[in-house]
């Protein structure tokens, strides 16, 4: 499947934007600038970007604790995201949510989620809204391999199937749930094999191959828009960092990190492919790299320079009885 050039450039830009964002988050976290828990998406960029390359702002998305990449791919402003991580008033959620609760309703981004398995039921909700309103909006529901053992996923897959909801369930199988390998916690080899249990199409694919993700998503999105119901895509991928910042990663196999950070890295593979096929030039890429680095520098500066919220904000955005 041919991807138009402007989309290829957009894809490269988004993948780099995620990568540089996450690298920088790791640095700023290390400096103590970012409080709380942070789960980095670096290494999995081809999944979020390959999927979101098929969407518009009107489409919905539910996410996970590892949500930065999903947000960037869906077009959420990185300045607002970085400011949110810093807990600043200019954050996309006014600093009240933080890394695990970044959301942007204007972009259809229904929130990162600190509860593993929290997203799939919400996805059925936006799917139901689209169906009820008769629009062609689709919902992407990202979840991890660990989340696939959560009952909410089962219930949501079944609901989406019987109601023919326009949802693409995307299992991001990065091999681990915290320190627990997928081959231990999951009773089947491929999560997508479970699609049959709901009478929906299921595909397992190389999640570090942008083109494979893009194509599978393209088909699933078309199905969903056409009212033919949900699909389940499993993208096998890997996280370059630990589960969260601070994880010693002793469970990882020797050489695994290196292999995924080099030959199996999704951005490197994408770059090699488009360069070797002459689809994009090195100069164009260098240009994008420059913009991306500038955007992240600017986002960090914006976050640092922004004020913290006024303490009165503690009591807004909720009915407070006492």
């Amino acid at each position: 499947m041919d991807i138009p050039k402007d989309k290829l450039l957009w894809i490269y830009e988004r993948m780099q934007l995620i990568r540089v964002f996450e690298t920088r988050v790791s640095t700023e976290f290390g400096k103590g600038k970012i409080p709380g828990f942070v789960h980095l998406y670096a290494g999995e960029e081809a999944v979020a970007v390959g999927i979101c390359a098929n969407l518009t702002d009107a489409d919905y998305m539910t996410s996970t604790h590892r949500g930065h990449g999903h947000c960037v791919a869906k077009g959420v402003d990185v300045r607002g995201m970085m400011a949110e991580l810093f807990g600043k008033a200019t954050g996309i959620c006014k600093g009240k949510g933080g890394s695990m609760h970044i959301a942007d309703m204007d972009k259809g981004m229904l929130g990162a989620n600190g509860i593993v398995g929290g997203g799939p039921p919400l996805a059925c909700g936006s799917g139901l809204t689209a169906k009820t309103n008769g629009t062609d909006q689709v919902t992407i529901c990202f979840f991890g391999d660990g989340a696939s053992e959560q009952g909410t996923l089962h219930e949501s897959l079944n609901l989406a199937a019987i109601w023919k909801l326009p949802i693409i369930f995307v299992a991001e199988n990065n091999g681990y749930a915290e320190s627990t390998p997928a081959h231990y916690h999951c009773s089947v080899e491929n999560i997508a094999d479970r699609a049959a249990a709901y009478n929906m199409p299921g595909v397992t694919l190389d999640g570090n191959d942008l083109f494979a993700v893009y194509e599978a998503a393209h088909e699933a999105v078309a199905r969903a828009r056409a009212g033919q119901g949900p699909s389940l895509l499993e993208c096998k991928t890997y996280r370059h960092y630990g589960h969260f910042e601070g994880d010693a990663q002793t469970y990882k196999i020797a050489g695994e990190n290196e292999r995924y950070q080099n030959e199996l890295d999704p951005i490197k593979r994408f770059t090699d492919a488009v360069l070797s096929r002459g689809l994009v030039s090195e100069a164009e890429m260098a240009d994008i790299d420059g913009q991306v680095n500038a955007a992240i520098d600017e986002a960090v500066k914006f976050a640092e320079d922004s004020p913290f919220p006024e303490v009165q904000e503690t009591f807004t955005d909720v009915y407070v009885s006492y």
């Binding site: 959620c93 039921p121 139901l128 009885s321």
Partner: protein, 337 residues
């Protein structure tokens, strides 16, 4: 006001019907809320209309796109209701018995209740969850619970416990129009209660208690079914020359502190009747509020009449012993003189 009388379920049904007519975004979802989904011979008709028949007839008027039967997947469909509310629908979800809320508790505690706050106000969750509560039906430990105290504890949720058909209709209309997640409790024993209910739609504001009976000597704050028991207790107290004021808060979150404090200022005595288990319940919540803000008004200890700290037993004599009743309430009140 029309003299027309409706029973409790009919009042709720009318509230939903009128709101669905008014606003096409209102949908109903839950197990057997229509019933018989995909059963050919029922055609447009329903099989059940909810386990107690409260949604009866709505599917005929609004169709199965708006009265949606769900599988027994409460996390799935309550979570879906949250997601649908956040994206523009105004769902009324029926969570059959409040005792089942445990199977979808995260959808309430961490999703529905918190989205608006965590997202810095950029989402709202206009969702009503209707649920059956209460003992007295011999339905045993899992099907006889009250649990409104759990939900009142959680910020981001509103909790409504009507005690009459009139209140039920007006409060449910308010709940449907509210932009927050509202849990709406319907006592299982209220099937037989009838009362005057206006035909037109009307709303009763949240956070406004109703003085169900005026009195001078003792204040009784009563929740749900306890309102009726407290009115019976008040009649009994009258015989002992004690005049009881019975206050029905109607909504627990928000809670109308002013009406309660003003009454205690007048009477100097407070009894709270709440069918909940006794620890960390709404009775303790109200007692604590008054022991703080109304301390100087009090002439006597605050008495709470609650269920004991045990699950609800099945056997009728045990359940009767377990439940608060008019006699326990009037005795508690008399003990303050």
């Amino acid at each position: 006001m029309a003299e027309r009388e409706l029973n409790f379920g009919e009042a709720l049904n009318e509230a939903m019907r009128q709101e669905m007519q008014r606003d096409p975004k209102v949908v109903i979802m839950g197990e057997d809320v229509a019933g018989g989904a995909d059963v050919d011979h029922l055609e447009g008709d329903e099989a059940w209309g909810g386990v107690l028949g409260v949604t009866k007839g709505l599917v005929k008027e609004f169709g199965r796109e708006r009265v949606i039967d769900t599988p027994i997947s409460e996390s799935g469909f309550i979570g879906a209701a949250v997601g649908a509310a956040a994206t523009g629908l105004r769902p009324i979800a029926e969570m059959m018995f409040v005792g089942f809320m445990g199977v979808c508790f995260d959808q309430l505690l961490n999703q529905g209740a918190k989205l608006r706050y965590m997202f810095g106000g950029k989402a709202k969750v206009p969702l009503v969850i209707r649920t059956i509560c209460g003992g007295g039906y011999r339905a045993a430990a899992q099907h006889s619970q009250v649990l409104h105290s759990l939900f009142t504890h959680i910020p981001g949720l509103k909790t409504v416990v009507p005690s009459t058909p009139y209140d039920a209709k007006g409060l449910l209309i308010s709940a449907i129009r509210d932009d927050d997640l509202v849990i709406f409790f319907e006592d299982i024993t209220f099937g037989g209660i009838k009362g005057a209910v206006p035909e037109e739609d009307y709303s009763i504001p949240f956070g406004k208690a109703d003085v169900k009976r005026a009195g001078e000597d003792v204040t009784i704050v009563a929740i749900g079914k306890m309102v009726h028991h407290s009115l019976a207790a008040a009649t009994e107290l009258e015989k002992q020359d004690k005049s009881a004021e019975v206050i029905d808060p109607r909504t627990l979150s928000p809670f109308d502190e002013d009406t309660v404090l003003a009454s205690v200022e007048k009477t100097g005595r407070l009894v709270i009747a709440d069918e909940s288990h006794p620890r960390c319940n709404v009775a303790t919540d109200i007692a604590a509020m008054v022991a703080d803000k109304g301390f100087d008004y009090l002439n006597a200890p605050i008495k709470m009449v609650s269920a004991p700290h045990t699950p609800v037993p099945f056997s009728p004599p045990l359940e009767d012993h377990y439940l608060p009743n008019p006699q326990k309430i009037s005795e508690a009140a008399l003990g303050l003189f």
